[in-house]
């Protein structure tokens, strides 16, 4: 039990440690900025959690983020209201995710390959549509999504909590969620049980794309530009958040709470390094080491519990 809570304690320790180490850490301005910075990653990671639980992977979420944000912004600058731009971004994200899911489930192509390909396609489409340039002069009201506050609480935190709650309920209390676990844990057994595997796999990728689209709108709102180059490398950070939070790339394991903790650990590490004056070069290496450490500790836990683990422990 202690070991299962390790990511949580790590987060607390990191929080307390940074509060002691830097006088600037525990201020509402700083915490607000940590939350805003990690919200985009967090929301993407929620979608990635579902996909990884179902035994898949999505390398294209960073590119989906850019394409959704760009198209949403283009709609707004051509005179459509903000809410339509927002909806369009989210729908584009879901459609991109659905395309990933259909290729994985119907054409039976390995999801790593499918999304490696669509990562290039979606990014390429963004660059073609925009000519490589960002979309500027967005309506003022749009900035509320990324930068607004309700009663002093960042609006994105509310969005994140709602998304987290929805994904949690989806995973734990709906048929779709339990099928995701079943498909990820043993796709053959799921198929033999009569589960419509292709349908549910596609739905899960679409949900992941939808969340990436939402993250794209938040990112655009924070920067007040639609950038075709936004979100590069985010897909790997989202995957890292899921695995730090106990998700397994072999499928069948993962949780919303774990992923949120994983994403916040990465957020605090980078914020703390900034505050303590550690160079961004060192930060990258640091976060890389944390990912390996987290997964290794999780593997040790599973081994001592006599499940999974290496060849000799079967």
């Amino acid at each position: 039990m202690m070991q299962r809570l390790l990511p949580f304690f790590t987060l607390i320790a990191l929080f307390v440690g940074l509060s002691l180490a830097s006088p600037h850490f525990l201020t509402s301005a700083n915490l607000g900025s940590v939350i805003r910075q990690t919200a985009v990653l967090n929301i993407m990671a929620l979608g990635m959690t579902m996909i990884i639980i179902a035994g898949g992977i999505d390398l294209s979420v960073g590119a989906i983020l850019a394409l959704s944000g760009l198209l949403g912004c283009m709609l707004m600058t051509s005179g459509y209201p903000v809410w339509m731009g927002l909806c369009a971004g989210v729908v584009v994200g879901a459609a991109c995710g659905l395309a990933n899911g259909l290729m994985t489930a119907k054409l039976r192509i390995n999801p790593f390959i499918v999304t490696l390909g669509t990562m290039g396609i979606y990014r390429g489409v963004s660059l073609i549509l925009s000519g490589g340039l960002g979309v500027h002069s967005l309506p003022k009201g749009f900035s509320y999504l990324g930068e607004g506050s309700v009663l002093g609480i960042p609006f994105v935190l509310l969005v994140l909590l709602i998304c987290g709650a929805v994904v949690h309920v989806l995973l734990e209390h709906t048929r779709l969620g339990r099928y995701a676990f079943a498909i990820g844990s043993n796709p053959d057994a799921a198929f033999y049980a009569g589960i419509p595997v292709a349908f549910h796999t596609s739905a899960i990728y679409a949900a992941g794309g939808l969340l990436a689209g939402l993250a794209g709108m938040i990112e655009a709102s924070r920067l007040m530009t639609g950038q075709p180059t936004a979100g590069q490398g985010y897909e790997l950070q989202a995957i890292a958040a899921v695995v730090i939070g106990g998700g397994s790339l072999r499928g069948g394991a993962g949780s919303v709470v774990g992923t949120l903790i994983g994403a916040f650990i990465m957020g605090l590490l980078s914020n703390g390094s900034d505050l303590l004056g550690i160079s961004p070069y060192v930060q990258q290496a640091l976060i890389g080491a944390v990912i390996i450490l987290a997964v290794w500790l999780d593997e040790l836990r599973k081994r001592s519990a006599g499940v999974g683990g290496g060849l000799l422990n079967r």
């Binding site: 209390h173 709906t174 048929r175 779709l176 339990r178 099928y179 676990f181 079943a182 844990s185 043993n186 053959d188 057994a189 799921a190 198929f191 033999y192 049980a193 009569g194 589960i195 419509p196 397994s248 069948g252 394991a253 001592s304 519990a305 006599g306 499940v307 999974g308 060849l311 000799l312 079967r314």
Partner: protein, 484 residues
């Protein structure tokens, strides 16, 4: 004594797998190691083979106390193991697998592949194995793979070979072949430790026998001086008369009718009828088409012609989903691969085919889930013993209300007590109005459980025999040409 184990103990995360494992094996003997699943047989042998370290106790090998830190050390000392689940590289050839890790070299680290193939071919000839050195291991049957593992151990110069339940995935004919090989090894002076569930056939083989129960050695003696019921009593700790005997039921209405089902190269004009309350056995050699028939009926593979009727209505089954909707269920041969989601709790596994019944608008009704699953739903399915895993797979289909249930090797690799439970569960499903088809390679099992027995050979049904048919009759229809 070649090998002596003294009070070996081993714990896995709080579970005491071995309390006191004792074993003495003489040179040139075949020593049987018996026990129910979870009794600690495999763990004890993995310790001997250097795959796991004992917590305490002594291993004495050829008079010296030893403590192997890895399989390579044990192999160098002359101990080889043929694994329950074969540990081979499927994309490499037979020869490459035999010499994996000890490839014959030319200078400068070059692998001498022609020599590896030559040496492997010589070894295969010597033991008269039906293998080719250059064949890919992935294309071999389970029996073929075991022969490769045997070659590997022999090539390493093993003077003690450990067989971990090699017969559990083999047909009767194939296991006879393995027994022949074991006798050959013994005659050359090697010692063999043989872990198995099937003791009747082994009387001819075994010199001595050791029984483990709950991680403790409870009996050691000469095979000739102990009866089978006595051995079973040692294994389960109570007396079991015959394993199981089903009280047959008057068959009810027709549940499944299959007419002239064909699939090129696999099934030819297979017709059969199953009635409510019936358990029909399906016998045949490996490759006769029994598993293939189940897969076609269940929609995993497509039949090219023929028709299927469930409860008198014609159905088209093109996927397992169609099959489940039509009321069919399949308990597959390979439980780990196709039946069970080992990483998930029991709850998810037993509800896998019945989620619709416990959900409304896609949301699960937790009260209904609890009442259907009962206690123990939180435990991970993979942590259960093989027998209990099989019971979870069966409950999945009991809950779904399946009307025609196909059992493919339902009692494979599970212990005596759990077998009885599995047969009882089949009987209960039949009594509740389902029709049951049971594929098994163990004829004694079929004769105890089935109301009538269909025999398959080369994709055709060659005979239908009544309850009470003898083993010889069944084998004659199953193997016709291959008998002398």
């Amino acid at each position: 004594m070649v090998l002596e184990l003294r009070s070996i103990q081993k714990c896995f995360g709080g579970v005491q797998a071995l309390r006191s494992g004792d074993l003495r094996v003489a040179a040139g003997e075949v020593h049987l190691l018996l026990g129910e699943n979870g009794a600690g047989k495999s763990t004890l042998m993995k310790i001997v083979a250097g795959m796991q370290a004992a917590d305490s106790g002594e291993v004495i090998w050829k008079g010296q106390p030893v403590r192997f830190r890895n399989p390579a050390e044990a192999q160098r000392a002359g101990i080889g193991m043929v694994h329950q689940e074969s540990l081979l590289a499927p994309h490499l050839s037979v020869a490459e697998n035999i010499y994996l890790g000890r490839e014959p070299r030319r200078g400068l680290g070059w692998v001498d592949r022609p020599r590896a193939v030559r040496d492997a071919a010589r070894l295969i000839d010597e033991h008269r194995f039906p293998l080719r050195a250059e064949q890919l291991v992935g294309s071999l049957s389970p029996a073929g793979r075991q022969m490769v593992e045997i070659c590997r151990a022999v090539a390493q110069g093993a003077s003690l070979l450990i067989f971990d339940e090699p017969t559990s995935s083999l047909s009767d004919a194939e296991s006879q072949e393995v027994f022949r090989i074991v006798r050959g090894l013994r005659d050359r002076g090697a010692s063999v430790i043989y872990i198995t569930h099937r003791m009747e056939e082994l009387r001819e083989l075994g010199g001595r026998v050791t029984v483990l129960r709950d991680g403790e050695t409870v009996f050691t003696g000469a095979m000739a001086e102990v009866s089978t019921p006595e051995l079973i009593r040692h294994m389960v700790g109570r007396s079991v008369e015959t394993i199981y005997r089903r009280e047959p039921l008057a068959p009810g209405r027709e549940m499944l009718r299959v007419e002239k089902l064909s699939r090129r190269g696999v099934l030819h004009d297979v017709s059969l009828t199953l009635r409510a309350g019936e358990i029909v056995g399906l016998a045949g050699l490996i490759g006769a088409g029994r598993t293939e028939l189940c897969r076609c009926l269940f929609g995993v593979d497509r039949a090219e012609s023929g028709s299927v009727h469930v409860e008198g209505r014609a159905v088209r089954i093109r996927s397992p989903r169609d099959a489940v909707r039509a009321g069919l269920a399949l308990i597959p041969e390979d439980r780990q691969k196709e039946g069970l989601a080992a990483g998930l709790p029991v709850r998810d596994n037993v509800l896998m085919a019945s989620m619709q019944q416990v959900s409304r608008f896609g949301f699960l009704d937790s009260a209904r889930v609890r009442s259907l699953v009962g206690p123990g739903g939180d435990q991970r399915a993979g942590q259960l013993s093989g027998g209990n895993q099989q019971k979870v797979v069966i409950r999945k289909w009991v809950l779904s209300g399946a009307k025609v249930v196909l059992f493919d090797e339902p009692a494979r690799g599970i212990d005596v007590g759990a077998k009885v439970d599995v047969f009882a569960a089949m009987d209960r499903m039949a009594r509740d109005g389902a029709a049951v088809l049971m594929v098994s390679s163990e004829l004694t099992e079929l004769m105890q459980v089935a109301d009538r027995i269909l025999v398959m050979r080369h994709g055709r049904i060659t005979a239908e025999l009544p309850r009470g048919a003898t083993q010889e009759e069944i084998m004659r229809h199953a193997a016709l040409e291959s008998l002398p």
